[in-house]
Symmetry: C2
Subunit: 154 residues, 2 copies
């Protein structure tokens, strides 16, 4: 999997948080290792499937970041991860994948998006099961941290 596939997801995530929450989040050092695992307290996942292309995408937020982004987007503070937060994480995941899909479509990579799934549970781990390569990208901000993971069966 080359950067052409990965960059649209990263730029879309940065863009969505900037637009929706006025939050600047910075990508860290990507990992391609098979045994790298994304950990988070709340994660949004979305599948992508086309006639020849299949993959999956996830964003894992730590609780701190999820609660802060909600406050910045909605103007209200919630104290723990509940329906408000899972809805928001599902929506952000959908927006990020939709933005990447548009950019990849322009380059001739066509796929449809599944509906998002949100997982909660302190310190859960996510493993994308794919024969192709996986990219795990940590993100840091003043308001908390996130991981993005992108996989395609290339």
């Amino acid at each position: 999997m080359n950067a052409e596939f990965v960059n649209p997801f990263l730029s879309s995530f940065i863009n969505v948080l900037q637009t929706m929450a006025m939050l600047e989040i910075k990508p860290g050092r990507p990992s391609l290792k098979k045994d790298a695992i994304a950990r988070g307290d709340v994660s949004g996942l979305i599948g992508m499937a086309g006639p020849t292309l299949a993959g999956s995408f996830s964003i894992s937020f730590d609780e701190e970041l999820a609660l802060n982004v909600f406050e910045m987007m909605v103007g209200e503070r919630v104290e723990s991860i509940g329906d408000d937060i899972t809805d928001m994480v599902g929506e952000i995941t959908n927006m990020v994948a939709g933005g990447a899909k548009r950019q990849l479509g322009e380059k001739g990579y066509e796929f449809n998006m599944a509906t998002p799934i949100v997982v909660t549970g302190p310190g859960h781990t996510i493993t994308h099961q794919v024969d192709g390569s996986k990219v795990l990208m940590p993100f840091q901000s003043e308001k908390g941290n996130a991981y993005i993971e992108i996989c395609f069966n290339d």
Copy 2:
């Protein structure tokens, strides 16, 4: 969402466990409630996407069932959820969705499958984010319990 959509996933799950692990698992009472939540210790998730159809599917195993199915399939006992178990859960999820896809394709419902994702973490919860309906189906066996959740944006 009607039974025509749901039944292929249920029968495929029963069939896969019977074939792969010689385990009989029994469906319980389905729930259509919006606030019903699947809880498990290890879950396999897979997205489904077609030109007009999008959805998601998950199987959540309690730890007991996951470890027992592994032992029945492989003939070796592992004592906790690790790579062996996540690989198996991803594979079972893929097989169940593949079986359902075949049955639904024969009825004219066409979609492609994304690659599976496996989530681990004690008692994590799964929320499918979809405007359409969701079906949550508990399963029980002598070797442990599981939940299946199926959603389509119908």
